[in-house]
């Protein structure tokens, strides 16, 4: 079994220990394993492929430069900790840009969308994206982590930094608001 194969069998925390010793191969294995997963959450938050890729790269390079930032003594899973790193970078970018610019083809219709609009997939996606972006920040995070990423409530709560009960409340409020807005829109109501 060569080095790369050995690294593939190591868990994330062991790989970080190797990275802390300067192993570039271990870093490569970790990036291969998780870059797509962290890209997904970044994309959901910044709504831009380029920005999401830049953020994931920046986060991993930070880890490479300062691998001791992850402290195994705190017993946090690597992915939980790294989700926080990526999310913080996304929120920083959003603050810098003030508002994430939705693509031009994603415009919310003014009033009473007709049947053509209702059946337009892009338009539906646009509306849904707008509804999600209009949610308060923590509700957005809760929906993205629990629904789109499929994380457990416990892990999502750790990432956002709230108790599980609070996380559940965030998910419920977010979904209730979204459901209300989607129903109103699909029912042909105006906002």
């Amino acid at each position: 079994m060569n080095l790369d194969e050995k690294l593939l069998h190591l868990d994330d925390e062991s790989l970080i220990c190797q990275i802390q010793k300067g192993s570039h191969e271990a870093f490569g294995t970790l990036v291969d394993r998780h870059s797509n997963r962290f890209y997904r959450i970044a994309y959901r938050l910044v709504f831009s492929k380029d920005d999401a890729e830049d953020i994931v790269q920046e986060a991993f390079l930070k880890l490479w430069d300062r691998p001791n930032l992850w402290d195994p003594g705190k017993r946090a899973k690597f992915t939980t900790w790294f989700y926080r790193v990526v999310i913080n970078l996304c929120l920083d970018l959003r603050k810098k840009k003030k508002l994430i610019n939705l693509p031009e083809d994603i415009e919310f219709p003014d009033e009473n969308p007709g049947p053509d609009v209702l059946f337009d997939v892009h338009q539906k996606q646009a509306v849904l994206e707008r509804f999600i972006h209009e949610l308060p920040e923590r509700q957005q995070l809760a929906v993205n982590l629990c629904f789109y990423e499929g994380l457990s409530n416990n892990e999502a709560a750790q990432i956002i930094g709230v108790k599980v009960k609070a996380l559940q409340s965030l998910v419920m409020r977010a979904k209730t608001t979204l459901k209300h807005n989607v129903k109103q829109y699909l029912g042909g109501g105006s906002r």
Partner: protein, 149 residues
């Protein structure tokens, strides 16, 4: 532990329309409640439709080479950070490394140069001159009474 109608509605929002995927500790009670209240079936179907809408959300796949790019970007950084004097010299030597034959030729020519240099140096008669001969006496210089222009 049993789940009542209102609790079921909450759990439906929290854990989704697929009751079989709810956390183990509430799954069974959830399924029992669903059997007990047929009107909940409509709520579950409604939730399924809503989740179907949420799943239509736009998503762009990342570039295929994203991971490779990140790994490549990390490499020069580490090299730079670890650069030491020894590494610098070894890199310079590696840069000017010669093949074995060329190395032998350079070595032989250097040895010949040294031999020739030493031979010329030791055969120079001025090399035997004593340093004292070159000393200038200040007194002799001051008392010099030779031709004065």
């Amino acid at each position: 532990m049993t789940t009542n109608f209102e609790q079921f509605k909450e759990k439906l929002l929290m854990y989704g329309a697929d009751v079989r995927k709810w956390p183990k500790d509430i799954r069974l009670s959830g399924l029992k409640t669903l059997d007990r209240f047929p009107e909940l079936q409509k709520l579950v179907a409604d939730e399924e439709r809503f989740e179907g809408v949420l799943k239509t959300r736009k998503y762009e796949e990342p570039s295929r080479d994203l991971a490779d790019r990140i790994v490549a970007a990390a490499l020069p950084k580490k090299k730079k950070a670890q650069r030491k004097l020894g590494m610098f010299f070894s890199e310079v030597l590696r840069e000017f490394s010669l093949s074995r034959r060329a190395f032998a030729a350079v070595s032989v020519s250097l040895i010949f140069s040294l031999i020739i240099g030493f031979t010329i140096g030791f055969s120079n008669p001025s090399g035997n001159a004593s340093a004292e001969q070159y000393q200038t006496s200040l007194e002799d210089f001051l008392n010099y009474e030779g031709d004065v222009l």
